[in-house]
C-alpha cells in the first residue's frame, strides 16, 4: 500500500483535489481509502462516501490536530492495510502555520490556494516548505499574473517541490497529479521507527519535547486514539 499525506490550510481545496485525483486513480483499477483528520467537526467524510470511497474520520477536539495525527497514523495505516487498499490518503487541515504533518519517505502533498494572499507562502512553515508536491488551487478565478507570482513565491520557499495547478471544480490537472502518486516500489507495511520531517509545534505530550519517532512506546502524556471501528 502507498501512503500519501495531504495537508493544507482550511478551505484550500484539499477534499476537492483528493476526490478528483481518486477518480483518475480508480480508472486505473487502484483501490483507494481516505482518512480525514479535522479539529472540531467535518462533513467531508460524507463527500467521500458519496463518491464510494472508504473513509474514516478523526476529530482531535481540544488537542493540537498535528499531534493527534501523528499519534494515530500507525492505527490509520493498519486500517488501510487490513482493507487491502493500494493507496491510503490522509487529509489533515493545517490549522496553524507551524504545522508539520509529514513523515520522512512518505509522499507529502501541500494544497494551498491562489486566494490566500501573496505573503502566505512565506508565512507557512514546514507544511509547505517540506512538501514533495505543492498543489495550487483556485487558479480559475485570479489573473494569469497573480498565478505566476504566487507560484514563484511558492518556489522560493520550497524550490525542490513539484508545483502543480489544479482546478478542484473541473478536475483539470488532477489526472496529472494522480500519475505522480502511485509508485509500485513504495509500499508501506509499517510506520514503526519512521520519523517526522520536522518537529511539531509544542503541546503537552512526548512529541512536545521533540520526539519524532512513531510508535506507541514513544507516546507519553496527552495522547488520544481514533476508534477505527467506529464509522
Amino acid at each position: 500500500m502507498n501512503l500519501i499525506t495531504v495537508s493544507g490550510p482550511p478551505s484550500s481545496g484539499k477534499t476537492s483535489v483528493i476526490l478528483k485525483t481518486i477518480d483518475s486513480m480508480k480508472t486505473r483499477g487502484l483501490k483507494v481509502g481516505v482518512v480525514k483528520f479535522d479539529c472540531l467537526s467535518t462533513d467531508d467524510d460524507i463527500l467521500y462516501e458519496k463518491a464510494g470511497i472508504p473513509v474514516r474520520k478523526g476529530l482531535s477536539g481540544a488537542l493540537c490536530p498535528d499531534h493527534y495525527f501523528v499519534s494515530n497514523i500507525e492505527e490509520v495505516t493498519e486500517w488501510g492495510l487490513s482493507n487491502g487498499f493500494d493507496v491510503l490518503i490522509t487529509e489533515s487541515a493545517g490549522l496553524c502555520n507551524r504545522c508539520s504533518p509529514y513523515i520522512k519517505d512518505i509522499k507529502a502533498i501541500c494544497v494551498i490556494d491562489n486566494l490566500s494572499g501573496i505573503n502566505t507562502p512565506k508565512k507557512i512553515g514546514p507544511m509547505l516548505k517540506t512538501a514533495d508536491i505543492v498543489v495550487i488551487t483556485k487558479g480559475d478565478i485570479v489573473s494569469q499574473a497573480e498565478r505566476e507570482v504566487f507560484s514563484s513565491k511558492v518556489n522560493t520557499v520550497n524550490p525542490g517541490a513539484i508545483i502543480m495547478n489544479i482546478n478542484g471544480l473541473t478536475g483539470q490537472g488532477a489526472y496529472e497529479l494522480s500519475t505522480l502518486l502511485y509508485d509500485e516500489e513504495k509500499h508501506v507495511t509499517d510506520l514503526k521507527g519512521k520519523q517526522l520531517r520536522f518537529s511539531m509545534p509544542a503541546a503537552l505530550c512526548s512529541y512536545c519535547l521533540g520526539e519524532t519517532r512513531i510508535g506507541e512506546s514513544y507516546q507519553m502524556g496527552n495522547v488520544r486514539k481514533i476508534d477505527m471501528e467506529k464509522k
Binding site: Q144, E146, T156, V157, P159, I163, Q172
Partner: protein, 343 residues
C-alpha cells in the same frame, strides 16, 4: 551547478553580489540577514539558538538544501533566457474520444502568431485538450494524445517547471485579488520574472492596456478597483507582454469595455500561439482555423472559409451599431431608428 560547499563559507554580501536574486530569497523565507552581511552563511545560521530555531521552524539542513536548489534553478533559468527558449509551433497528434474511437485528424500543427478557436458544448473536452497541451501529453493521458513542440518530443521540463509554464490562461471569471496598485502589481510581476528593465516594460504594458481599454489608467488605482474593461485590458496586456508562456488560452472575452480585435492583435504581435474557446461569431471567425470538440475528442478541424471571412466584415458592422447604441445609452441619449441603419 553549485553545491552547498560553494556557498557556506562565502560572506553574505559577496554571495548577494554574485547572485542578486538571493536577496529576495532570504526575504521570502523570512530570514533577516541585514545584520549579518559581513558574516558567512554558516555564521548566519549558527546565530540562531535552539529555541529560536524551534519557534521559527528553521532547519539548517533543509534551508541550505533549498538555497542550493533555488540558486541552481535560477542559474539555469537565467541561462535559458539567453539561449532563446523559443517555441515556433506545437503539434497535437490525435488520440481517442471518450468512447475510445480514434479522433478524425492525424496531426494538427499550430504556429506562433496563429489564432485557433475551440468550439463545442460545455463538458465536451475543452479542458482536457488544454490539460493535454499543458502537460505535454505523451500518450499518457486519458485521450492518448501526444504533443510535439517544434516538431520534436518535448523536454519534460515543461511539466514541472514553475517558471516555464507552457500555457497561460485568460477567462471571464478571472479577477484581481491582490491588494496592490496598478504600478506595484506590474512591478511585482516583472520582478518575479527577473526582468531587468522593469520600468520600460511596465510603461509598455500600460500603453498597451490603455490602447485596449479606451479609459486611461491611473497607476495609483488599486487593481481590485479597476472597472471590468480596465481589468480585462490590463490582464491581456500583462499576459501578452510579461507572461513567459508561449501559448495563451482565452476562454470567452466579453465585449464590454475593451477592443477585442486589438487585444488579439496584441497577443499575436507578441508571437504567442492563441487558442480561444468561444462561440461568439466575431471572435470565432477571426481565427485561422477552428477545432470542433465532441464527446471528448476532436471531431473536426475547420479552416475559416472565404465566405465566412466576408461575413466577418458584415458582423463587425453589426457589432459597431450595437456598440454605438451602447455608448449613446451611456451618454443619456434617446435612441432612434436611424441609429441602426448602416452608415
Amino acid at each position: 551547478m553549485i553545491n552547498s560547499k560553494d556557498i557556506i563559507n562565502v560572506v553574505l554580501a559577496d554571495l548577494i553580489e554574485k547572485y542578486p536574486f538571493l536577496d529576495s530569497y532570504f526575504n521570502d523565507n523570512d530570514l533577516d540577514i541585514s545584520n549579518y552581511m559581513q558574516n558567512t552563511l554558516t555564521e548566519f545560521f549558527s546565530h540562531f539558538d535552539e529555541e529560536e530555531k524551534e519557534d521559527k521552524a528553521f532547519d539548517e539542513e533543509q534551508t541550505l538544501k533549498n538555497l542550493v536548489e533555488y540558486t541552481n534553478q535560477m542559474i539555469e533559468f537565467l541561462g535559458i533566457e539567453e539561449d532563446g527558449n523559443t517555441i515556433n509551433s506545437i503539434t497535437i497528434v490525435s488520440g481517442t474520444n471518450k468512447s475510445g474511437d480514434e479522433e478524425k485528424f492525424a496531426e494538427l500543427k499550430i504556429h506562433k502568431s496563429e489564432i485557433v478557436c475551440i468550439v463545442g458544448p460545455t463538458g465536451s473536452g475543452k479542458s482536457r485538450l488544454l490539460a493535454d497541451i499543458e502537460w505535454t501529453a505523451q500518450k499518457d493521458t486519458p485521450t492518448k494524445r501526444s504533443i510535439k513542440i517544434n516538431d520534436e518530443k518535448p523536454d519534460m521540463k515543461w511539466r514541472f517547471s514553475s517558471s516555464n509554464k507552457l500555457v497561460a490562461q485568460l477567462s471571464q471569471n478571472m479577477n484581481f485579488v491582490m491588494d496592490l496598485t496598478v504600478m506595484e502589481f506590474l512591478t511585482l510581476h516583472a520582478k518575479s520574472r527577473l526582468i531587468e528593465n522593469v520600468d520600460d516594460l511596465v510603461s509598455k504594458i500600460i500603453d498597451a492596456a490603455n490602447n485596449l481599454a479606451g479609459e486611461k489608467f491611473d497607476l495609483d488605482t488599486p487593481i481590485t478597483s479597476l472597472s471590468g474593461g480596465q481589468s480585462r485590458a490590463l490582464m491581456i496586456a500583462d499576459t501578452a507582454i510579461l507572461s513567459s508562456s508561449p501559448i495563451i488560452l482565452i476562454d470567452e472575452i466579453e465585449n464590454a469595455g475593451i477592443d477585442r480585435k486589438k487585444a488579439l492583435a496584441l497577443l499575436v504581435g507578441e508571437e504567442k500561439i492563441v487558442l480561444m474557446a468561444t462561440h461568439d461569431p466575431i471572435l470565432a471567425l477571426m481565427g485561422d482555423r477552428r477545432i470542433v470538440i465532441k464527446n471528448g475528442g476532436i471531431d473536426k478541424v475547420i479552416e475559416t472559409t472565404d465566405e465566412e471571412r466576408k461575413m466577418l466584415v458584415e458582423l463587425e458592422k453589426m457589432d459597431n451599431v450595437i456598440q454605438n447604441l451602447r455608448s449613446k445609452l451611456r451618454g443619456g441619449d434617446i435612441l432612434n431608428k436611424n441609429m441602426i441603419k448602416e452608415k
